[in-house]
């Protein structure tokens, strides 16, 4: 009867081979030989599949493995696939030709049937995904609002003297998001001032109006850039740290331990972080404003040959208390938002190390998005109020 041989190109000893034999009308025999090991070229199970599917009148499938000198998981996987295919075609599979170890391992692998309800495989359609995304977004927004509300209640309890905040924690966070943030705030704000002055100088020089660089830098720094840049730095630096700290505590069950001692995590963990950041943000912003103006002055004095006193007087005339307080109000709002985003993401962190990473990332993203959105809103509101 018909027989064909599949030998992958490999002329070493123990070359793996498969001969598909068809000794009787209703019987297929796979004659396997060689050392079936990981790292060797093996015949493809597709060839066997094809033979099973395309030979007419086949009812039985058998193996002949007398020529197999060695085998490992690759052989197991091969045999498993062929048997699955044969069973699916309603063939009677005779496994007695397989090595005893292979039979036992195949039985072991089949001992617990694959779970059917894990939902793997078919994903939802794009429309369903769109809807699910929308629902997730809404739930996210509700969770953030609930968290904000709970935090507000805790602040209220603190004002009434009922909340428990460990002073040492609070001081630690003050130092952490205050003094220790100074170097990076210094660098970034100074450079933002320099950039603003440069952009302004190129345009204003065409009209001989270089002196207005002082106005531009002064107003832009105090109203906008000081608060916003500081907030973005703090979102990346402190917001992410909050999320990672709380996330790790979640993984270690440390937050559970607080809860079961009757020490609400909202008061013990969130409140000191929130207060520290809300308190330090305006101070950092004030400092950033000053450094930005200094950066602008460096460009003004160095590049535009303006006088120092002249630059100072011009800035003092342009910037008034409104600009300064608008920036400071924003900075407090940003500080609260960054702390809330960091703590929220940390508290809802899952119980694995990957979840901590995701929480830190989500904290920065949420923080920056809420900074920009609230900035836009506040700018409009201040404008309407004529502030």
């Amino acid at each position: 009867m018909s027989a064909h041989t599949v030998v992958p190109e490999q002329s070493v000893q123990d070359t793996c081979a498969m001969v598909i034999d068809h000794p009787a009308e209703d019987l297929l025999v796979l004659r396997l030989s060689g050392a079936w090991r990981i790292g060797k070229a093996l015949p493809s199970p597709d060839v066997a599949r094809q033979a099973i599917n395309q030979t007419p009148g086949v009812r039985r499938l058998a193996f002949d493995t007398q020529g197999v000198t060695a085998w490992d998981s690759r052989f197991l996987a091969f045999a498993g696939q062929v048997i699955t295919e044969g069973t699916a075609r309603q063939l009677t599979v005779d496994r007695s030709g397989l090595p005893a170890g292979v039979r036992q391992l195949l039985d072991l692998a089949a001992a617990v049937p694959a779970r059917q309800d894990t939902g793997a495989g078919v994903g939802p359609s794009w429309l369903a995904r769109f809807g699910l995304g929308g629902i997730a977004f809404a739930q996210n927004a509700i969770a953030m609002l609930a968290f904000l509300g709970e935090a507000a209640l805790s602040v209220l309890m603190l004002l009434r003297g009922k909340a428990r905040v460990r002073r040492i924690d609070f001081l630690q966070f003050l130092q952490d998001c205050g003094a220790q943030a100074l170097p990076i705030v210094t660098l970034i704000s100074f450079l933002v001032g320099v950039i603003l002055a440069y952009v302004g100088a190129i345009q204003l020089r065409q009209f001989g109006a270089q002196i207005y660089v002082a106005d531009l830098v002064g107003i832009a720094m105090t109203r906008e850039m000081g608060a916003m840049m500081t907030a973005i730095i703090m979102a990346g630096r402190t917001g992410a740290a909050f999320a990672a700290q709380l996330g790790t505590m979640q993984v270690n069950e440390e937050i559970d331990a607080l809860t079961t001692f009757g020490m609400p995590p909202m008061q013990f963990l969130v409140l000191p972080r929130l207060l520290a950041l809300a308190l330090m943000m305006p101070l950092l912003t004030l400092y950033a404003d000053l450094l930005g103006i200094l950066g602008g002055a460096t460009v003004g004095l160095g590049l535009l040959q303006l006088g120092g006193v002249q630059y100072y007087l011009r800035t003092a005339a342009a910037v008034d208390l409104h600009d300064l307080s608008a920036g400071l109000i924003k900075s407090i709002v940003f500080g609260i938002l960054v702390a809330i985003a960091g703590c929220l993401r940390g508290m809802e962190c899952g119980r694995s190390s990957a979840a901590v990473g995701r929480a830190a990332t989500a904290a920065v993203v949420t923080g920056i998005v809420s900074i920009i959105v609230s900035d836009a809103l506040l700018t409009v509101v201040f404008d309407l109020l004529g502030f």
């Binding site: 607080l258 001692f261 009757g262």
Partner: protein, 255 residues
């Protein structure tokens, strides 16, 4: 010792979202019991513990402590009940930013009016009780897993609890340390008069210290038996329970 049940679990269903973990759990724990929550891996033992100590609201049912409902009580009552618990988490769950002494001192500082020097004395005593005298100023990351567990126990003992909960106390411990922890649990129960609830699947511990138990089954998602584990091993007619308690050497013989 009084006769009324110390803990009564009534018709408890537990679920994470739509996924039911266990349903229809009803059992009682008497004062002074060493009560074992046992069952195969993934059957919801730790979840039951979380429901009993207030970390996971049940989908249905309630847990009552000395007749006082826990989940239906208002927050103030619940907080007072929590104060009576001491819980040892699986990996200790020590607050990693604090030293061992600070870990034990925090609940004392929060819930008592003791002076700092009195607290320091108590902290040293609690750490000495679990064999960690002299380790006051170590951070949790500086000591071994077994020591972290014992430090967690010292913290759980801080407020002299009536009820001690242990989540897999012997997980990750060598047989000797595990045995010592069992002895420690027995001594604490006897000297403090506390009630102890332990989640474990260590047969050695179950028979050595348990005098009451509940068996949870992952397949049927409910409890199969409750009572003294030694009696269950001798008399239970339920194959799954027998099989578990005899390491699969008896019962329906599938293993």
């Amino acid at each position: 010792m009084t006769d009324g049940p110390c803990i009564a679990v009534q018709d408890l269903d537990m679920a994470y979202g739509d996924r039911v973990i266990q349903r229809n759990l009803t059992f009682t724990v008497n004062r002074g019991d060493i009560f074992i929550i046992m069952g195969g891996s993934g059957c919801g033992k730790s979840t039951l513990l979380r429901s009993m100590v207030g970390l996971l609201p049940p989908a249905r049912g309630d847990v009552a402590y000395s007749g006082q409902s826990f989940w239906r009580a208002d927050p103030a009552v619940r907080e007072r009940l929590l104060r009576r618990f001491g819980i040892l988490y699986q990996a200790g769950a020590l607050w990693s930013s604090m030293t061992l002494a600070e870990n034990v001192a925090l609940p004392l500082g929060e819930f008592t009016t003791l002076r700092p020097d009195e607290i320091r004395e108590l902290v040293s005593l609690k750490l000495a009780l679990v064999g960690l005298a002299g380790y006051e100023d170590f951070y949790p990351s500086e000591i071994s897993g077994g020591m972290r567990k014992r430090a967690g126990l010292a913290r759980a003992l801080a407020l002299d609890p009536d009820i001690l909960f242990f989540d897999e106390p012997s997980a990750g411990l060598d047989p000797i340390s595990s045995r010592r922890l069992d002895d420690l649990i027995l001594e604490l129960r006897d000297s403090l008069g506390a009630t102890v609830v332990i989640v474990t699947h260590e047969l050695a511990s179950i028979f050595a210290i348990g005098n009451n138990a509940v068996f949870l089954d992952a397949a049927t998602k409910t409890m199969l038996a409750t009572g003294d584990p030694k009696v269950l091993r001798a008399e239970s007619t339920i194959p799954t329970v027998r099989q578990f308690l005899t390491r699969g050497e008896e019962g329906d013989g599938h293993a």
